[in-house]
């Protein structure tokens, strides 16, 4: 007897949220209502959940600048209307269609197109000369970018002070590996590399070369106003043979 009642409570409890939102069908609604009349535990739960709902409802919304809708309307009116279509009467449209069909069929009567096509040959052999590049050594280029917009006022991203660009290893050369490795670097308040994460990997060898180089980099730490803070920077290593 007791256990069945407990099971009942569990079931009712799982329906309480939907009961509050009036999202149950009539039958279940009634059942919950009846149960709440008799069961004080569930009633308490019901009131707490109701309270939670009210509290969330009462959260202050973020004030929006009132110029925002004006800006939107401004931009909307800037959208150019579709060019006005001139609708010919149906008869003319049909006539044009028929004329086109007749034209095509007359054309197709002349199976021999030669008299229509100018005698210029459509393709000519072009002599392609092999361009030899002056011998250029393999290289690794490092470039940096700031991975987020400065949504926070007075935020200055970290700046690079010194880097040791890695050079191609034998292994990479022998395998002819080319491409880019992109790393996310967290710069701590003192300007050292705190952690490195690979976001685009090339090969394990190239990755570890890049990471090793990233770990020795020196930065001017990111700042908010004059306070030094942790910052992010993205470094991409371009491997080219």
């Amino acid at each position: 007897m007791h256990s069945s009642k407990q099971g009942d409570c569990e079931r009712i409890k799982s329906e309480l949220s939907a009961y509050i939102d009036r999202e149950l069908n009539k039958k279940v609604m009634n059942r919950v209502e009846e149960h709440l009349k008799t069961c004080s535990i569930c009633r308490e739960e019901y009131h707490t959940l109701l309270n939670v709902k009210k509290m969330i409802k009462g959260i202050k919304r973020v004030e929006v600048d009132s110029y925002l809708p004006l800006k939107i309307i401004d931009r909307v009116t800037e959208i150019k209307p579709l060019p006005e279509m001139v609708w010919f009467p149906v008869t003319i449209r049909v006539a044009v269609l028929i004329a086109i069909i007749i034209n095509i069929s007359i054309f197709s009567l002349f199976r021999d197109y030669r008299f229509m096509i100018s005698p210029i040959p459509s393709y000519r052999p072009i002599k392609i000369e092999k361009i030899m590049l002056t011998e250029e050594r393999e290289s690794i280029t490092v470039s940096f970018s700031i991975p987020f917009r400065d949504s926070i006022d007075e935020y200055t991203p970290p700046e690079v002070v010194s880097i040791k660009t890695p050079s191609y290893s034998e292994k990479l050369l022998s395998r002819n590996i080319e491409g880019t490795v992109i790393l996310n670097i967290v710069v701590d308040e003192t300007g050292d590399t705190k952690s490195v994460r690979v976001t685009k990997s090339l090969s394990s060898e190239a990755d570890s070369l890049s990471i090793a180089s990233a770990k020795t980099m020196k930065f001017n730490p990111a700042k908010i106003g004059t306070v030094k803070v942790k910052g992010f920077i993205t470094a991409s290593f371009l491997f080219k043979i």
Binding site: E23, M55, K57, I79, I152
Partner: protein
């Protein structure tokens, strides 16, 4: 001539819809991305996108749900693009004047004093809400702020009605637990 007239008509209806809905759209987006400027940007984009296919929307009364869905899709795409996690990283863990930046980002209009005066309890509720799982936070906002039905929420979030029901229940339970721990109930 008639087309121009129609266009003006569409513009007028749309202007009214912008005026009626921009606050809710903005606030919804803000709960998703938690960044004032980005939310402003996305709100504009949302309405522009909506305007482009406005004529195709047959039932104008479902505009509310429809625009929420556009807002959601755009926000999610943008978050992927800008890798918002990093903004969060800076905004959550970087302190300025001993105050976490997340406060100043989400509530830039209020001055410090005003913010201090703000109802404490609501602050706690807001804080807890922002610490929740994004999906739970979203579903609660759609329910309590936008007052959408479960079916409508399902349409916005592209999940079934049943899933909405259980998600809301779990979200409320989670909220309850957190609030109890913070002793927010009187």
């Amino acid at each position: 001539m008639s087309i121009n007239k129609e266009r003006n008509n569409v513009e007028e209806t749309f202007e009214k819809l912008v005026m009626d809905n921009y606050r809710r759209v903005f606030n919804y987006i803000n709960t998703l991305v938690n960044d004032y400027e980005l939310s402003e940007d996305l709100t504009q984009d949302t309405f522009l996108r909506a305007y482009r296919s406005f004529k195709g929307l047959r039932r104008k009364e479902s505009f509310h749900v429809w625009i929420m869905r556009i807002a959601r899709n755009l926000s999610i795409n943008r978050m992927k693009m800008e890798n918002l996690k990093r903004i969060r990283f800076v905004s959550l863990f970087t302190k300025r004047y001993n105050r976490e930046l997340i406060d100043s980002v989400s509530d830039p209009v209020l001055s410090l004093e005003e913010r201090a005066k703000e109802d404490e309890e609501k602050n706690i509720v807001k804080k807890i809400l922002y610490e929740m799982q994004p999906r739970m936070r979203e579903v609660l906002i759609l329910k309590e702020w936008e007052e959408l039905s479960y079916a409508e929420i399902g349409k916005v979030m592209k999940i079934s009605k049943k899933a909405v029901k259980s998600l809301i229940h779990r979200a409320r339970e989670a909220m309850k637990k957190r609030l109890e721990r913070e002793d927010a109930f009187k």
